[in-house]
Amino acid sequence: MDKVNVTIDGIKIEVPAKYTILEAARSAGVKIPTLCYLKGINEIGACRVCLVEVVGGRSLSAACVTPVTEGMVVQTQTPRVRNTRRSTLEMILSDHNRDCLACIRNGNCELQTLSETYGIREISFEGTKSPSQYDDVSASIVRDSSKCIACGRCVAACQKQGISVLSFINRGFETAIGPAYDISMADAPCIYCGQCIIACPVGALHEKEDDERVWNAIMDPKKHVVVQVAPAVRAALGECFGLPIGTRVTGKMFAALRRLGFDKIYDTNFGADLTIMEEGTELLNRIKTGGKLPMITSCSPGWIRFAEFYYPDFLDNLSTCKSPHQMEGAIIKSYYAEKKGIDPKDIFVVSIMPCTSKKTEADRDEMFNPSLGVRDVDAVLTTREISRMIKQAGIDFNHLPDEGPDQDLIGEYTGAAVIFGATGGVMEAALRTVADILGEQDLPAIEYQAVRGVESLIKEAEIEIGEHKIRVAVAHSTAAARKLLDDIRDGSAPEYHFIEIMGCSGGCVCGGGQPQIDAQTLMDIDLRTARAQALYEEDVIMPERKSHKNADVEKLYQEFLEQPNSHKAHALLHTHYQRREIYPDSVLQSNDTE
């Protein structure tokens, strides 16, 4: 690799020639502030917070986009740099809703951190505020453009997802970020993946909060509140309490949920094992009976909405399985309620998810059980929301003992379920079970390395089981899904049997409901790998690592569902999908009447 010598604040250092000044400075241990910069996503030099002085240069340079050159001398702390940065910050703040105490990002805001670092005590440019709107119509995402600093990180993140539902609109002081016509996210073809929320450095985009509803349910003596928690949450919740990225906090997480006062605590991993039984059976049936192939997984509600909006011709390829937490909710309201003798109407199911799209999923008409008159799931909280509840309850998270989920009825889970939270995990879990069924034996080889990892956004493998060959593909991020589905449409892809698609890159561990990590930290770490590691760690230590070995799942079939894909299983655990229109003319009419 070509190297060049540069001097940064008097420190001489040799760095790769492709580095920017920002990256070179980081290698030299010099921290240059950033705001619009987001590694690999938004590198546009727009906000001017990272300005530095290059000796011999006429004007200041944006460190995040200026490449290093041989012999370059950079000064990051001259009076000129410092004054310019301060003025830039003050100007950004002059058009920012500085309601920091009541902001969801209070204490976790990159703009707030910069203001604090630079000792901003007054804003000398008090002027007009650009027009703003507050949009909390969707069940997943709230957009408060009075907080928006037009850095473009969300626009870039949405584009990276291959969706671009957010764009810069208008010009100059009128510039805003939003969908076309600045309509509500609820009317736009948004999949609610929440990657815009993860990218936002301030409080302009955040989840629709449901914690008050959950508090009320917990405090209501008539409600039997059952909580379930997705695998990916344990891989990131610790970050909200200052623990290093990648720390697995399964035990403390269950202990915290118990102390919050939930009546019953379960792991969505049970639902994941159940999903494998249903989805694996569906796959084998489709292969045997010449059903629609490739079959595509349906665990990721962001991906489901993506298919409904953008690839409706693939809706018959989707597995009809509900996602694991919806399955588990349906089982809690039926099997669990029956066994415990509780009226399903008195049960309130809370799902703790790494995902913002799950909030809208739980609200879908299809997720309402008409015979019982209840929803499968009553509230979905993100990892961030549950961390705030834990803090509010005064729980000293880091000193909690390790506990587990409640063990009766649906408490057990296997290693196969835990890895659902990482890209390739659902595929690997399915293969572990499908291979045993097709091979008619308990196969010892259970780790399918080919479908793991984030090096490639599309992974493929051919698995030989006896005389059967199963060709599979795994795509993470909707942009990757787009590529894969386009290749299938035009016939350039091989004939797959089974495809796993997760809406977010890296899978659920990097879902839109996970903790936001600041852009500077993200320069040094790949969150997708670090968080996934925590899940693979848990898989290895589980006594059972194949979904069909889950004793509680077996019992559920014996005592209630009869067998996978039975009539009863279909009624409770399967669903259907609908084509959704992109920007129908009606979105403008609904906008006019508001």
Partner: protein
Amino acid sequence: MATTTRLTHDEKINKLNKVIDKYRGQGRKVLMQLLQEAQAVYGYLPLEVQRMVADALDLSVAEVYGVITFYSFFSLNPKGDNQISVCMGTACYVKGAQAVLDKVISELGIQVGECTQDGRFSIHACRCVGACGLAPVMMINENVYGRLTPDQIPEILAKYKEA
């Protein structure tokens, strides 16, 4: 004085489809050209046209809308048979262009960028038409009106209303 013959919606869509087919599949780099030609054919760029353009170039509607709203040349609303451009350039502005514009707005009952119900007039605010010596200046179609005062506006508009 209306110069264009009115095409039916279907005729316009047919012409638009021919323009769009020329650029289909070529992506972001031809967006500006396509929008320019689409506006020439269709008159303006409503949501229906944006959807067609986005679809042809594999872009999102929001991206197309973003470009349209960035450039003042592009219009989301229909333009009138008579297009009124009030110059808001520096010279005209200091000579009272705002009062002229306000009078046009109140006379026609529409805002800048909008078109009257009957399709006869639309108002645009433009930057310098190069006739600063005549400031403040307003153009209606190709005709220039200079050294304007607000009280002249009704009389000027009346000529176009009658035509």
